[in-house]
Symmetry: C2
Subunit: 248 residues, 2 copies
């Protein structure tokens, strides 16, 4: 196996897995997302070839992975969060499989729970939520947005990825289809990083209340958000931010 | 901060975070779940006090965490997966908060994506799934089971935790409410571990086909399961199992 799709975790560099860090420290080629912590990029060997995703299309990245993999280089494809949760890791894996190359997937800590966690919000909690739905407004099949009528009736916790631009649409869609405008909601920007910002408000007010927050932004909707009063950064939890100061 | 709620990851000991391992290696008291890898328990200092969850009730565990935390011990509460995804970490965090103790939550890699990943299944994939719903048959509010009528209409991928005993109920519930019996499904036992077993079958047949699999069992339902033919252990992916051989 020479190509490794590795989850970097949600932001805090201390949240990469030990297996992922081991591979990163041994790689010859590092292909990385923009949102990956700079501290992690520094963990790759000094003479590793470094390739940032952003100037490239997904097809170009796929071709680079196949090319370096076929040439026998030890390649780490470092992706924010988990490669298989809104990470397009499946597309890269398929490209490698179609080229006849072996590869390894190393899962990562996804923002879906880690980011609410850093704001003092457990996405599940006995008596409050035994179901979690994670949604992205981007990348939906056939270019359609989420089905707000169905989501408004969905029990448990809703977690929206990449919610910055769609925040008004999401909250309008949910309340228009009957979700209680008083449902607790939280918007979390740069979750798990020192610059993390959290705004909590009833669903009907969250878009206006969090207008100044920037991407990457995660939106959590559901009764579990009310626990942040007792568990959040203003409550008791030290959160994972202490991990940000520790080298991985 | 002296009490740390740490996610151990989905099974493979190489999938703990670097921050989690750092805390584990420095702890004075280790309170751990049954499903945590033995290799991780060995990472705690030899003279650390070790307490297994299983003989204790949740209330007793809460009291132990508060007691050792108040006495100033460096406590690691090591939980399978992520503490806040079906981990009852919120209950432990509330107990600590109510006792006036600071604590830290270190997220972990949840089985929700890592276990399907190890079977070659990305829970999201462009054109196939832009939404994921995770459900447990246990711990539901008011003691009721999942709402199968709603789940049968839910787009994207469904991931059921702790599905062993409820497998027949889940598949009957979904198909009775109109989910196509031919929907691809996979049952994964001991995911990410060397003893991992995967059975894939159409939804209507998955319960019978996987009757011999044992807990812990995760059930994945949705079109993404069809990708396992090309990405799974019998296809190209080396999966994360190589991590199981590497010490953390």
């Amino acid at each position: 196996v020479s190509v490794h799709l590795v989850g970097a975790g949600p932001g805090d560099p201390g949240l990469i897995t030990t297996r992922g860090l081991e591979l990163l420290r041994a790689c010859e080629v590092l292909v990385h997302d923009r949102l990956v912590a700079p501290e992690l990029l520094e963990e790759a060997p000094a003479d590793a070839i470094r390739i940032a995703h952003e100037p490239h299309t997904q097809e170009e990245i796929n071709a680079l992975l196949v090319g370096y993999g076929r040439a026998g280089f030890d390649v780490v494809r470092l992706k924010g969060g988990d490669p298989f949760v809104f990470g397009r890791g499946g597309e890269e894996a398929l490209a490698l499989a179609e080229a006849g190359l072996d590869f390894e997937v190393v899962p990562g800590v996804s923002a879906l729970s880690a980011v609410p966690s850093a704001a003092g919000i457990p996405v599940t909690h006995r008596g409050l939520a035994s179901q979690v739905t994670i949604i992205t407004a981007h990348c939906s099949p056939a270019g359609r947005g989420p089905d707000y009528a169905a989501l408004a009736q969905t029990p448990g916790t809703l977690v929206f990825f990449m919610a910055r631009r769609a925040l008004g649409e999401i909250t309008a869609g949910l309340t228009a289809h009957g979700l209680d405008p008083e449902t607790p909601a939280a918007a979390i920007a740069s979750g798990t990083l020192p610059e993390q910002r959290v705004v909590a408000a009833p669903l009907a007010e969250i878009a206006a209340a969090s207008a100044e927050l920037e991407s990457p932004l995660l939106l959590v909707v559901g009764d579990v958000v009310s626990l942040a009063d007792r568990l959040g950064p203003n409550g008791r939890v030290a959160s994972v931010l202490s991990g940000a100061q520790s080298s991985p």
